[in-house]
């Protein structure tokens, strides 16, 4: 009974984590950027979604849309205000760019977190479920919303797979992850490809943020832990590897759910972190990483 409950909850939360982490890992794969403001962007989507659905009276559906849009806008802002200026700066030596991007997005994440707490609230908020009702799965009462979230995440991941593997733009994106220089020589503008991947990322992070708000609830202070989860997932899966990230999302999702049910909800984030440290010590390329 409890086992099934864990299986169901773990499945849904893992799907959500996977969705958020895929965008994160794509950005790293294509442009080598580790975006530490990731959790902040999800929080923006969640809070804007919650605010426009409730306080602004847009209703759940339009609220959700506003939230996703806010996630997209923040992703663009992160790229244009922080990442791009650092990459193009002449005062920053090339070998230190990665570190500056990391520090810059860290500061940006703090600004987002504080800004959200100031504009909205620093209390946890929960959006009303997109669809109501409960189904009984072999004795486990499961909200329809939770099932819908798991299904939606997998549909989106499937669509993303099609986008990358079956469309021209997606192929270019894949090629950029393998060899950006080769792509320039074929007449592609890398700046457009970066914009494209940040767009995908923004939409995915936005959707994940809003869905999280309607599933577990989100507070502005979740920005840090959300980034940490995404990091853990992406590093476990091997940076830049999409399928690795999806697998790692399930490892982390289930580890967290197991801890929450069997040990204590407060200890939720610890096992993935320990696993992450162990993996980094013994297999720095990640569980499924290449090389």
């Amino acid at each position: 009974m409890l086992g099934l409950q864990i299986a169901i909850d773990g499945f849904a939360i893992s799907a959500l984590y996977g969705l958020a982490a895929v965008g994160f890992t794509l950005i790293f794969g294509v442009s080598g950027v580790l975006n530490v403001a990731h959790g902040g962007i999800m929080v923006v989507a969640a809070l804007v979604g919650w605010f426009s659905a409730g306080a602004l009276g847009f209703g759940t559906y339009w609220g959700t849309l506003c939230g996703i849009l806010a996630g997209l806008v923040m992703a663009f802002a992160t790229y244009f205000v922080v990442v791009r200026p650092i990459q193009h700066s002449r005062a920053i030596p090339a070998e230190e760019t990665e570190i500056f991007v990391l520090t810059g997005t860290l500061l940006w994440g703090i600004m987002i977190e504080q800004g959200m707490a100031y504009l909205f609230t620093d209390n946890p908020v929960t959006m009303r479920p997109l669809i109501g009702g409960v189904v009984n799965i072999m004795g486990v009462r499961t909200p329809r919303n939770e099932i819908m979230i798991a299904v939606l995440c997998w549909v989106l991941i499937g669509l993303l797979w099609l986008l990358i593997n079956r469309t021209r733009g997606g192929k270019a994106l894949l090629a950029a992850a393998i060899n950006p220089r080769g792509l320039t020589l074929l007449g592609f503008e890398l700046s457009r490809i970066y914009l494209f991947v940040w767009t995908i990322y923004g939409v995915l992070a936005g959707i994940a943020g809003v869905l999280l708000a309607s599933f577990l609830g989100v507070a502005s202070s979740n920005a840090g832990p959300l980034t940490a989860s995404a990091f853990a997932i992406v590093v476990l899966g091997g940076l830049g590897s999409v399928s690795g990230s999806l697998a790692a999302a399930y490892v982390v999702g289930y580890l967290e759910t197991l801890t929450a049910y069997l040990v204590a909800p407060t200890l939720r984030p610890i096992p993935p972190l320990i696993l992450l440290v162990l993996v980094l010590y013994f297999r720095p390329q990640g569980l499924l990483g290449r090389r």
Partner: protein
């Protein structure tokens, strides 16, 4: 006269994954001897140097320094045992003066000796004088010209009085006058009873200095002897020049009156402080096949990258009358200048077909299909390999794919950089036939950069020789054999 054996290697081998970078290298280096280690890019010469220094660990073989086997030691121990190295690219401490940089090399490897021994200061000053940096030793490296920085690196390498000095491409980025002065400095090591190993791309670079030259190709030793002997060696000539030089003048008269397509005027390029191109001017007319020959490191790739908008440059580059300044690499490629680089830059994990499709992405579906059919006719092997990931192809097939991918873009000007690099003679023949076919059946303009003269000349309407960042010769291929042929290597 050379003295006792200082450095000896036997059976030295190194693999990176499946790639054999160095295979069974054996040589002896004596005191007060200068030996040149040469080979084109990827021949394994730099790896040999890293193995000696301990930066990479050998898979097999031994390295003896003054009779002690040092293979597998960490670099800092090898350095203390008596080997000094000058890396090609180094990053000096920028906040410190030249003198302090030299002092660094004299410090003991201790965590507790906080104060600098006064003798160190004295010795550092003496070394600075020795390499003729006396006047600038209180200045910071960032305020000095490149040649001085090279001298400073040299000072650091000899600071601990090593018995063996390794020099990686010591003359790269220096002017002719600086090369002469620098050679004098290296020669003076002989008087100090040191053994010197010069690593360079070609014999010419080290001929004046080296007592003996060892040539490597694809990880193996191919020749050893005096500079003259190595230059005459059949294998070495085949590696660098190809075989017999043939030339054609069939079309030169036809293209002579056509308008210029690419005009490169007084282009200079610097990497940091090193000069890679010095006021180079090159002109390519519509429909012409122009070859730029030059040894590795002469500046061919830099020139092509400047044209493709991949490196910043001074001077003007015009294409079909329009200035290329300020255009992005992607925009230049779309305007019709397509480069097929030396490194090929394939998308290794994608299939052959996917690679080709990316090249033809700017074309309409019909045009793409037609182009693809034409290319499969040119390189039939690619049609069979369509579904295979590009990285699983052989070297020759990869080169064909790289060229085809560039041709998918229907270039007005195709830049081919070292297409023969590391390829077997059979493949060269196939490529050569494809070039000939391309030249006969299409109006395409080609700019080819090659070290392999045999490959470069038969198709060329005109030839430039690039040497040490300068264009030193320009003319038709028939005159090349007479005027440049012997002095080229």
């Amino acid at each position: 006269m050379t003295g006792e054996v200082r450095l000896e290697t036997r059976g030295l081998s190194k693999r990176f994954g499946g790639l054999v970078a160095v295979k069974d290298i054996a040589f002896k280096l004596h005191a007060n001897e200068i030996m040149g280690l040469i080979g084109p890019n990827g021949s394994g010469k730099s790896t040999v140097m890293k193995l000696i220094m301990g930066v990479e660990r050998p898979n097999a073989g031994m390295i003896k320094l003054d009779g002690v086997d040092i293979a597998g030691w960490p670099p800092h121990r090898i350095a203390r045992a008596g080997i000094g190295i000058v890396f090609q690219h180094s990053r000096p401490l920028h906040r410190q003066t030249v003198l302090e940089n030299i002092k660094l090399a004299l410090l003991p490897d201790s965590l507790l000796r906080l104060a600098v021994d006064p003798k160190v200061d004295e010795r550092a000053r003496a070394i600075a004088e020795r390499v003729e940096l006396g006047e600038v030793m209180e200045r910071r490296p960032s305020t000095l010209p490149f040649a001085y920085l090279r001298r400073m690196e040299m000072a650091k390498a000899i600071a601990r009085d090593p018995s063996v000095v390794l020099l990686d491409e010591p003359f790269a980025g220096l002017t002719a006058a600086e090369v002469a002065a620098f050679s004098e400095l290296i020669r003076s090591f002989r008087a100090e009873n040191r053994a010197v190993l010069l690593v360079d791309h070609n014999v010419k670079g080290v001929a004046a200095l080296a007592d003996r030259v060892l040539a490597m190709y694809l990880g193996e030793k191919v020749a050893e002897g005096t500079a003259e002997e190595v230059m005459r060696d059949e294998t070495v000539r085949r590696v660098y020049i190809g075989g017999k030089i043939e030339a054609s003048q069939k079309r030169a008269a036809v293209t002579a009156g056509r308008p210029p397509l690419l005009e490169v005027e007084d282009v200079s390029v610097f990497y940091g402080k090193a000069q890679a191109l010095d006021r180079v001017s090159v002109r390519v007319r519509e429909g012409e096949f122009v070859s730029i020959v030059g040894l590795n490191g002469a500046g061919k790739t830099t020139l092509f990258n400047a044209v493709s908008g991949l490196v910043p440059y001074a001077g003007t580059i015009r294409f079909a009358g329009g200035d290329l300044a300020g255009r992005s690499g992607g925009a230049i490629a779309r305007s019709g200048i397509v480069q097929c680089p030396e490194t090929r830059e394939l998308f290794g994990d994608m299939t052959v077909r996917e690679n080709l499709d990316l090249g033809g992405q700017h074309l309409s579906a019909a045009a793409r299909a037609a182009q693809l059919a034409w290319l499969f006719e040119l390189f039939p092997i690619l049609e069979d390999r369509q579904g295979q990931p590009a990285r699983t192809l052989s070297g020759g097939e990869q080169q064909m794919l790289a060229i085809s991918r560039s041709l998918m873009m229907q270039p007005k000007l195709l830049i081919l950089d070292e297409p023969t690099l590391g390829l077997a003679p059979v493949i060269l023949e196939q490529l050569s036939k494809a070039m000939e076919r391309l030249r006969r059946t299409t109006p395409i303009t080609v700019l080819l950069g090659e070290q392999n003269v045999t490959f470069a000349l038969p198709h060329a309407d005109r030839v430039y020789v690039l040497e040490h960042a300068h264009i030193v010769w320009e003319g038709d291929p028939l005159r090349f054999a007479a005027e440049m042929g012997t002095g080229y290597l």
